[in-house]
């Protein structure tokens, strides 16, 4: 709109719109409301993350005379470096060359996949049960909230007691049922430690998955089931062809939440199976290096790698999800 055309039109046209004070004041208020929260997050999450990453590029040690302030920049040495010995042999050091790290990564991956699969399957079963209408449904719903409500540490101790080799009730039960012929130290034995951890985690987390999946199930309109009933479709077919596709969005959300949680797991492993090489996850290992082995910078590198892993998994998941969505919407 130029002033020429305005003159021709004979009406007054304002170049700059007059802003209402309502919107100006609301925008200003919004800013004031957001700033405290953003500052809090920056201080509690943003800055510490940056520092952890920073430390991973230094030789920081808690035991140094001035503590962490004595740290010097050493580049990628914590991640990957090589030393040539006098004999000519090349030795690789750094997290990426560390057998312990890869063992921990393997443990974490094993645990994550197993727990997510088991919890999704069991969670779906429980959700299907809860979705049905039957007397006593309220009792079931209340019952499954109990494992979820119990603090992880307490669960670890409770199960530790049940899995105890001498006095544990699991051993007693299995012996009576002739499933085993001698008492097993489930949490302490290398072969069975991971099973013990999985048992507790599945017990504790299936309710959460069940509730999320149930919410997805309840969004499926009831008349679809009535239509399949009229058509006489077999219930198993109904589940796989009708229910599952409709619940998929809720399932995908539940799965990604669980997967990310499983990759980060610390509490359960630390309390139930401390010092077990078969269950040590990346979080446990990183903390060990940070605070128990006086390898602060090394632990920071491991922490950074774990963060990167989580970030990549999240981004991949969103990207794949978007690509699918785009295809479906067309």
């Amino acid at each position: 709109m130029t002033t020429d055309s305005a003159a021709v039109a004979g009406t007054l046209s304002i170049e700059k719109p007059i802003k209402s004070e309502l919107f100006v004041s609301r925008a200003r208020a919004a800013m004031w409301f957001l700033v405290p929260m953003l500052v809090a997050l920056a201080v509690v999450a943003g800055w510490p993350l940056y520092r952890t990453i920073f430390f991973s590029f230094t030789d920081a040690k808690l035991s140094a005379p001035n503590g962490l302030a004595d740290a010097h920049w050493i580049g990628f040495k914590n991640y990957w470096s090589s030393v040539t010995l006098g004999s000519g042999k090349v030795v690789y050091t750094g997290v990426l060359a560390d057998k312990q790290w890869w063992n921990a990564a393997w443990n974490t991956a094993r645990f994550a996949v197993a727990s997510v699969v088991l919890e999704t399957v069991f969670g779906t079963i429980v959700a299907l049960v809860l979705n049905a209408e039957f007397p006593g449904r309220g009792i079931v719903r209340a019952a499954i909230l109990i494992p979820w409500a119990i603090p992880t540490i307490v669960s670890a101790k409770m199960w530790g007691w049940m899995l105890n080799d001498q006095f544990g009730i699991i051993n007693d039960l299995f012996m009576r049922l002739h499933l085993i012929d001698h008492k097993i130290a489930w949490a302490a034995t290398a072969d069975t430690a991971m099973y013990a951890v999985l048992a507790v985690d599945v017990w504790k987390t299936t309710p959460f998955m069940a509730l999320l999946i149930l919410a997805g199930l309840q969004m499926v309109p009831k008349d679809i089931y009535e239509a399949t009933a009229i058509d006489g479709v077999h219930p198993v077919k109904v589940f796989f062809r009708v229910t599952l596709p409709l619940v998929r969005p809720a399932l995908m959300v539940a799965v990604i939440f669980r997967l990310l949680d499983a990759l980060r797991i610390f509490d359960l492993i630390y309390v139930l199976t401390p010092n077990s090489d078969q269950t040590k996850t990346m979080s446990v290992l990183a903390r060990q290096n940070l605070f128990e082995f006086d390898k602060f910078a090394y632990g920071s590198a491991e922490s950074t790698l774990l963060f990167l892993l989580i970030a990549i998994v999240t981004i991949l998941y969103i990207w794949i999800g978007r690509v699918n969505l785009g295809g479906e919407n067309r």
Binding site: V129, L214, F296
Partner: protein, 276 residues
């Protein structure tokens, strides 16, 4: 016809299995906590005795009552602070249009995806720098990393659903955003606040890694750490009875709270999950 009854029975067996499987470990912990002396070393499926010995031992432990109090203080204050910050932030994020709003929301949510260990090193430095090491405030401060994003996300979802015409009527009546939040929205949102507060309380109560790393003395420890570190007179004697008693003490209030508020909790969990 018979097939119908078979299916029915199988279904109810499944229901029974689910209930037993969920409740049994807790039941067994309670059972164990009431045993004392040598009966601890027998395996019983049903209660055999009823003794308060273990519970007395827990409270005579020295710092356990203090640990309980610490957990209550830390969880309560964490929730109060988070709700305060989150309510105002949720208003801005749900009711005021500005550029980059959805990106901001996603960023906030992504903070809750951080592995705790990734910020552990950096937080350790910050907490020591502020002189908060081995204090309750150090824990309250660090817990906001997971309670804030969650409460902001859930409260934003709830506020978005409040009818816009009520807010417009308030604007016509001359209400500023602060008045709108306090006099119009909060009274309508208190179920959501209770739910979110409860979920955040449970998360804070449960927290282990930060509590383990940022406290060093029994007097400052919270309950999860206290239980994890419970040990007996000698290195080889694990006081299972006492541990179970402590576990029950810590868990019963939580279970009661959760059962009372189950509907709200379930809706809060799914609001955060499904709508997200």
């Amino acid at each position: 016809m018979a097939w119908f009854y078979v299916k029915r029975t199988a279904f109810y067996l499944l229901v029974l299995a689910i209930i037993v499987e969920s409740v049994f470990p807790f039941y067994y912990a309670i059972l164990t906590s009431f045993k004392s002396g040598t009966s601890l070393f027998e395996v019983n499926y049903w209660p055999t005795m009823f003794s308060w010995d273990n519970y007395i031992a827990v409270f005579q432990n020295g710092s356990f009552p203090q640990n309980l109090l610490n957990s209550v203080i830390v969880a309560a204050l964490t929730v109060a602070l988070s709700l305060l910050f989150a309510v105002t932030a949720a208003y801005a994020l749900s009711r005021v249009r500005f550029r980059g709003r959805s990106a901001l929301l996603l960023t906030i949510l992504s903070v809750s995806m951080f592995p705790q260990v990734a910020v552990l090193a950096g937080l350790f430095e910050v907490i020591r720098a502020f002189g908060l090491f081995n204090t309750l405030w150090g824990l309250i401060f660090s817990y906001t990393i997971f309670t804030l994003p969650f409460t902001v996300w859930v409260l934003t979802t709830f506020m978005r659903d409040l009818p816009i015409e009520i807010e417009e009527a308030a604007i016509v009546d001359g209400a500023t955003p602060w008045v709108i939040i306090t006099k119009v929205f909060l009274p309508l949102m208190w179920p959501a606040l209770v739910t979110t507060g409860l979920l955040a309380f449970i998360a804070a109560w449960n927290e282990f890694l930060f509590a383990l790393t940022f406290t060093s003395s029994n007097a400052t420890r919270t309950v999860p750490v206290a239980i994890a570190l419970l040990s007996g007179a000698s290195q080889f004697e694990i006081p299972w009875g006492t541990i179970m008693a402590a576990s029950v003490i810590v868990t019963v209030p939580l279970v009661v709270l959760v059962l009372i508020f189950q509907r709200k909790i379930i809706s809060g969990l799914t609001a955060g999950g499904v709508k997200g």
